[in-house]
């Protein structure tokens, strides 16, 4: 399911560089500068020597078995000379063309769909920075240069192959005896992994910086979809539970959604958070019914949502114009009964350690995880059949093509068999692609994707081009390589994009400014009051299962009038609108290399921005400094107005009034003003 072929050069240049013979009249074979997927493009030339590009034949190759037939597309004809030179074509195979057919394979640069403007193979510096804003925790100079060399797809493929960075090993290293019950080490390793900075818990430190940015960014997005939180009283001391849960998200970030769904469902962190652990079958004599908590939220939040969706993510409406519910209470009950009979793992239990959970000790206090680093907090829950409801038929989701007759799971299966059937039943619901796809687009690219964009991504979810449903890596490629991700649609220039999440402003700052601590730890997010009270966010610290913000949040005022969703604005309250800039202020003005200015500035675990790196330039050529930051932080989108304001401010800082620290001071003010500006705050 690779990308079939990509051509991003003016055609005359491209053709000249190939074996194309304009006089032969035969189809020419255009060699791609970069063999992204072994694709060929044949172009039929015109009769007059000038390449006309009337017809482009797209031939699929290795990764496009089955449904990816060669596609032929007509160009508008006759194309003018100028048009010819401006034709830029991209042909995307696998998940894109194969799944979507003709609608998105035209060679018209203005057409919606797969044709993205701009150099694809060797993206410009600004295009590269823009891509990295969507796909990583922030651009850095090195990453921009590397992405330019390898191209978008090459970069994604590198990322897919990179080793996964985990949290658990750090927690074990930090506290070998497992007696640390606060969440500080978990925030440290989250930040280390998010920044891709050297990891003191692993061999090779400090030469062992993590490089799996895309995976980590995806894991973070998933953590805002499959929410568990240390704000829950049952998990507030359980950093191994939360760390291993986050690891599961990272491991599955490029796997299949069905795998992810089962791993999430059976993880003890989720088991505690949504109380599926120790859920029991009904007992009429005690008026006890199975717990509906997980049943309800796995449907409502993790997979299909409350209302029936079209393939493009828009809501289906009934004859009265009302949304169509996806399920009712009977279905919630059905799933609740399925999710009975699960308890902590018995791995490691025994007379010399701790009690085993069995049928007779299902609820016992002894059947709980005592040690914070116990396997019980980290390994999948296990079934205890005596407490599983094996006797009632269960109404599950009913939808066209459902495998179970009328969506009813006939009784008799054991706990795992019924869970398998139930998760399959969810997984195959037609809502999953648009529901999950739209939210992932919102986390990475834009708050208001067009229905067509959602439809393209959902189609890839439904079929990655090789007949596989739920391939998250293919979905991620579809999201990031879509035309609507790679360029701002002309009609949406003043509404495209999203409010940057506050926590990603910090990671962006630190990545761009090559921040390091002396110990390799990163304590900066271990704040008082807690980070989420400063900025409205912290890793796995949402106030509820509904995440820090809703994908449907509407900001009052003009965004509401325009019918725009603006999820991240939900945490841009007056309070955080003051507190987040203050926290950024602290990081920028207090924590620079060599600083002892503030409390904890020189602690070994405090990462400090390399402000000095740019101090000389700030004095010699402040305009160039801003150009550099415009690239790093704003993908070249800074307005002349904004640049003027900041330049004016930093030019007032001189060695006359600030002495030797004037250069650093200029850098700090520039950073502060950029990171708190409206223009930067909206990722576009």
């Amino acid at each position: 399911m690779g990308m079939l072929g990509i051509v991003w050069e003016p055609l005359h240049k491209l053709l000249r560089s190939t074996r194309f013979n304009p006089k032969s009249g035969a189809p020419a074979v255009l060699g791609l500068r970069r063999q992204d997927a072994g694709a060929n493009i044949r172009a039929a030339n015109g009769p007059q020597g000038e390449p006309r590009m009337r017809r482009v034949i797209l031939t699929c190759s290795h990764a496009c078995s089955g449904s990816c037939a060669p596609a032929t597309r007509e160009l508008p004809s006759p194309a003018t000379l100028v048009q010819r030179f401006l034709w830029r074509a991209v042909f995307v195979c696998g998940p894109f063309v194969c799944a979507l057919g003709a609608a998105h394979a035209t060679v018209d640069a203005s057409a919606a769909g797969m044709i993205a403007p701009g150099p694809w193979i060797s993206p410009s510096r600004t295009d590269a920075a823009r891509f990295l804003a969507q796909a990583t925790f922030g651009a850095s100079d090195a990453d921009i240069a590397h992405l330019q060399r390898v191209g978008y797809l090459g970069w994604i493929n590198e990322q897919a192959a990179a080793a996964v960075s985990l949290e658990k090993p750090y927690l074990d290293w930090d506290s070998p005896t497992g007696d640390n019950n606060n969440q500080n080490p978990r925030r440290e390793i989250w930040t280390i992994n998010a920044l891709g900075s050297p990891d003191p818990s692993r061999a090779g430190y400090p030469g062992n910086a993590h490089v799996d940015q895309l995976r980590q960014r995806m894991a973070f997005a998933l953590s805002e979809l499959f929410v568990v939180s240390d704000q829950n009283s049952g998990l507030s001391y359980q950093q191994w539970a939360l760390g291993s849960y986050y690891d599961a998200l990272a491991k599955d970030a490029f796997a299949n959604y069905r795998t992810l769904l089962e791993d999430v469902t059976k993880h003890p962190a989720m088991g505690n958070y949504l109380s599926m652990i120790q859920n029991r079958k009904a007992d009429a004599s005690l008026n006890i019914h199975p717990d509906e908590n997980y049943a309800r939220e796995v449907l409502q939040l993790f997979s299909i949502g409350l209302t029936q969706l079209n393939a493009d993510g828009t809501r289906q409406l009934d004859a009265n114009g009302q949304p169509v519910p996806t399920y009712g209470q009977t279905t919630v009950r059905g799933f609740a009964a399925v999710f009975t009979g699960w308890n902590y793992t018995n791995v490691g239990c025994g007379p010399s350690t701790y009690n085993c959970c069995d049928a007779d000790h299902y609820f016992d206090w002894g059947c709980a995880a005592i040690d914070y680093n116990s396997p019980r907090w980290q390994l999948p829950m296990q079934p205890i059949e005596a407490w599983h409801d094996s006797t009632s038929d269960k109404q599950l989701l009913n939808y066209p093509g459902v495998a179970l007759a009328n969506g009813v799971l006939v009784h008799g299966g054991d706990a795992q068999a019924e869970m398998t059937a139930a998760l399959d039943n969810i997984f195959n619901h037609p809502n999953v692609g648009p529901f999950v796809g739209r939210q992932l687009i919102q986390r990475l690219v834009t708050s208001n994707p067009s229905p067509a964009y959602v439809a393209r991504v959902a189609a890839v979810f439904n079929n990655n081009g090789s007949g596989v449903r739920g391939d998250l890596l293919a979905v991620l490629k579809a999201i990031l390589l879509d035309a609507e991700a790679r360029s701002i649609p002309p009609g949406a220039a003043d509404s495209y994009g999203k409010l940057r999440e506050p926590i990603i402003k910090f990671t962006h700052l630190w990545r761009a400014m090559a921040a390091r601590s002396s110990s390799g730890r990163i304590d900066n997010f271990n704040t008082y009051p807690a980070l989420q009270e400063w900025i409205g966010q912290a890793p796995l610290a949402s106030g509820s299962v509904f995440n820090f913000f809703s994908p449907f949040f509407v900001q009052p005022g003009e965004p509401a009038q325009r019918g725009l969703k603006a999820p991240e604005f939900q945490i841009l309250t007056d309070m955080y609108a003051l507190n987040t800039p203050d926290r950024l202020y602290h990081e920028i003005f207090c924590n620079y290399s060599g600083s002892g200015d503030c409390w904890a500035s020189d602690d070994p675990g405090t990462i400090q921005n390399n402000i000095q790196r740019d101090a000389a330039l700030a004095m010699s050529n402040p305009g160039q400094l801003l150009d550099q930051y415009n690239l790093l932080f704003m993908s070249g989108q800074m307005s002349g107005y904004m640049r003027g304001v900041i330049l004016d401010r930093i030019n007032k800082i001189t060695s006359g009034n600030r002495g030797a620290s004037a250069g650093m001071f200029r850098v700090q003010h520039a950073l502060y003003l950029i990171l708190n500006s409206p223009e930067y705050s909206i990722q576009k």
Partner: protein
């Protein structure tokens, strides 16, 4: 007529501001609200919504102890039932009229872990708190039989947190686009205030309750407000002192009319509002000479700190030019699917102690009769249990607290506690058939009673709560 005025307001705002942000300037809104408001008040009143996120279990908060009702309760809630003696020890002085006698969850009682503090039960028995029974989101009055038959329309997405929270906060399950009822009330009343600070204040999250056409919640840090470091507050000493060049640069970047993108404008608007409101509030809370500390001690809990901030803002109401204010405070962890006995003890203890302190503070400030606090929650919880917890329900019981409250009484109708059995699956007339309690009082009635006390006229009440006429009583009389 009033509907027309609201429509006019809506349209004129769009027309007047066009592509420019609605929230472009404090002053514009102020003028617009004043021009369209008929309200002015000589007195001061505040409504305080105490939202219990997750769905509070009213059935274990207000519990019968007479033999007949307790026996029913016991069989309904076998594994999580409170002991009869515990409930009786926390008896209410009044009864709800269903023949039963009821007491409070011990966390609401006089005896707490910290020893002997008064709480919600004390306030009830002193006539300063009322209980409104079995309130829930409704579109029409409905019985359990009608629900089971599907013969009467019900709110969409019952039993779902994300839907029932906004439905409670809007009192409009049939149209969530209208905003919260607190916000719609404030749309009409905001012109009555002379100050510029928003009439709707949240010490919690960005809630729907306080969103109207022209107002949206001003979220205040319960720990206090300070100006941004870069503008001279906080850690300003590190970088700028109080450098006018820095403030000028920052303000230039967020200045109105300098952004080309709708979301950038929204970000800039929020940045401007937040700093302007902070200036107002800092000035009011920090006069020269400084205000003495409140004598009333608040518990150091989430709700305690939030309600203390509310009390501090109420104290400076004159400085802020406020005659009407709507506050929103909240607590979480009410979604007690498991370990309910322990969790609800903690939750209700926090609630009870904080509300008691808050009431005392309003007495200290001499505004007890002008401040009414009321609870709200996603939903009540199920009759049934799932062993150690309960599941999402519908109707639930609520407290209203304040000097103006006609307290010491129950309002509304207590639900039946009869147990449905296989032999008699409809023994409980108030059961949906799935274990949830069908509400007998609508959120509309509950909210309209509060809004009426707050000063909303009858015609505007009908606009804000258009479904109110479907229910037998428009004013429940508890305040």
């Amino acid at each position: 007529m009033h509907l027309d005025r609201r429509e006019f307001l809506r349209k004129s705002i769009c027309a007047a501001l066009g592509g420019v942000s609605l929230y472009s300037a404090l002053g514009n809104l102020k003028l617009m609200a004043a021009a369209t408001s008929n309200y002015s008040f000589a007195d001061y009143k505040a409504l305080v919504c105490v939202f219990l996120y997750g769905g509070n279990d009213g059935l274990n908060m207000i519990v019968p102890y007479d033999a007949a009702h307790y026996a029913q309760y016991r069989s309904l809630r076998a594994q999580i039932a409170l002991a009869q003696s515990t409930v009786q020890a926390n008896a209410f002085n009044a009864a709800p009229g269903d023949g039963g006698q009821y007491g409070a969850h011990p966390a609401l009682g006089d005896q707490t872990a910290s020893g002997g503090n008064a709480g919600l039960r004390t306030l009830f028995n002193a006539g300063k708190a009322a209980i409104v029974a079995n309130v829930g989101t409704l579109i029409y009055p409905i019985t359990g039989a009608q629900f089971r038959a599907g013969s009467v329309p019900v709110p969409p997405s019952l039993f779902s947190h994300a839907d029932q929270q906004p439905q409670w906060q809007t009192a409009r399950p049939d149209d969530l686009t209208v905003g919260g009822w607190g916000g719609r009330v404030a749309d009409l009343l905001a012109g009555a205030n002379t100050g510029s600070l928003p009439m709707v204040v949240s010490t919690s999250n960005n809630n729907v309750f306080e969103r109207g056409d022209t107002v949206s919640p001003y979220c205040v840090d319960p720990g206090g407000v300070s100006q941004m470091s870069y503008l001279g507050g906080g850690e300003a000493w590190i970088a700028t002192g109080n450098d006018p060049d820095s403030a000028a640069a920052y303000k230039a970047l967020i200045a109105q009319g300098t952004q080309a993108h709708v979301l950038e404008r929204a970000f800039a608007d929020k940045s401007r509002l937040a700093t302007a409101n902070a200036d107002l509030l800092i000035a009011a809370l920090n006069p020269v000479p400084p205000l003495p500390a409140l004598r009333t001690a608040f518990p150091d809990t989430g709700l305690g700190n939030q309600l203390r901030m509310v009390a501090q803002m109420i104290r400076v109401r004159a400085t802020l030019g406020m005659s009407r204010q709507v506050f929103f405070v909240s607590a979480g962890n009410y979604d007690t699917h498991s370990d309910q006995l322990a969790n609800q003890q903690d939750n209700l203890s926090e609630l009870s102690q904080a509300l008691n302190a808050f009431y005392n503070a309003t007495v200290e400030l001499g505004v007890a009769n002008g401040v009414t606090a009321f609870t709200a929650s996603d939903f009540g919880r199920s009759f049934t249990s799932n062993s150690t917890g309960t599941d999402h329900g519908w109707g639930g019981h609520h407290f209203v607290v304040g000097g103006a409250v006609h307290g010491g009484s129950f309002y509304g109708t207590m639900p039946s506690l009869a147990l449905n059995t296989d032999a008699n699956p409809t023994a409980n007339p108030d059961d949906t058939g799935y274990g949830q309690v069908v509400p007998t009082t609508s959120v509309d009635q509950y909210a309209a009673t509060l809004a009426s006390w707050f000063g909303i006229g009858a015609a505007d009440l009908a606009t804000i709560f258009p479904n109110l006429g479907r229910f037998a009583t428009a004013n429940l009389g508890f305040v």
